[in-house]
């Protein structure tokens, strides 16, 4: 089954993960509130987690104010 390509912007300098849509959803549940989920194709926020296999996703950290 084709995986979801996930790019996480972190201190490691773009960690890339290959996850099944289910694994991806699980990950997002755990990281909720820390990242914006962005479709790399359109660079728009993925509002509903209807992720398709093969989709390229970037997780962009939400900036915090002081």
């Amino acid at each position: 089954m084709e995986k979801v390509h996930v790019r996480v912007l972190n201190e490691l300098g773009h960690e890339t993960l290959e996850l099944s849509p289910e694994e991806f959803k699980e990950m997002i549940q755990l990281e909720r509130g820390r990242y914006f989920v962005v479709d790399e194709e359109t660079m728009t926020i993925v509002k509903k987690l209807s992720i398709e296999p093969g989709q390229r996703i970037a997780l962009i950290p939400i900036a915090r104010g002081g």
Partner: protein, 178 residues
């Protein structure tokens, strides 16, 4: 006569010398004072020696630490880390370009900042160093944004731009520095 003066001519110059006769009790007192002074000087010398020993011990520890920190495997680690950081920054720069689009990226590089409109219709400016400013009452006011440790600068810029676009309310005005 307990005191008298004389002039002495010496190879080093001409001196007026004053002599004072000492009584036995004055001699005893002078001895006591001199002994005390000698004791004080010895105490001072011991204190300096103790400090000197401490400094020498510390120097030895610091030298050993410096030597250990210059081990070849540590140098290799630093080189590897710097290379990884450089690659990470290059990847982040490429992503920033994709994120902003060719035109947006060119403008950002040319102007040195990005003009962003947030979801509430307010205008912001994100500088090339990742700092954010917001137009408030006709003036650009600095907004405090915490930079995540070790996050490459272009990724930080992406994060700030995305946050301004989607969740501007999480960023507040920095009243300390304007």
């Amino acid at each position: 006569m307990s005191e008298y003066e004389e002039i002495q001519v010496l190879p080093t110059g001409v001196y007026r010398v004053r002599y004072k006769r000492l009584t036995p009790s004055q001699i005893k007192s002078l001895r006591t004072r001199t002994q005390k002074k000698l004791q004080d000087l010895r105490r001072k010398q011991n204190a300096y020696l103790a400090t000197l020993n401490e400094i020498e011990d510390e120097m030895e520890t610091v030298s050993r630490f410096l030597e250990e920190s210059q081990r070849p495997e540590i140098d290799n680690y630093i080189t590897r880390y710097d290379e990884q950081k450089k690659e990470a920054t290059e990847r982040a720069e490429t992503f920033l370009k994709e994120f902003l689009g060719e035109e947006g990226y060119e403008t950002y590089r040319k102007d040195g900042y990005l003009q962003i409109e947030d979801s509430l219709g307010d205008y912001w400016r994100v500088e090339a160093d990742g700092t954010a400013r917001k137009w408030i009452d006709g003036k650009l006011s600095r907004i405090c944004v915490i930079r995540q440790r070790e996050l490459p600068l272009p990724d930080h810029v992406v994060s700030v731009v995305q946050t301004i676009r989607e969740r501007p309310e999480t960023l507040r005005r920095d009243y300390r520095r304007r």
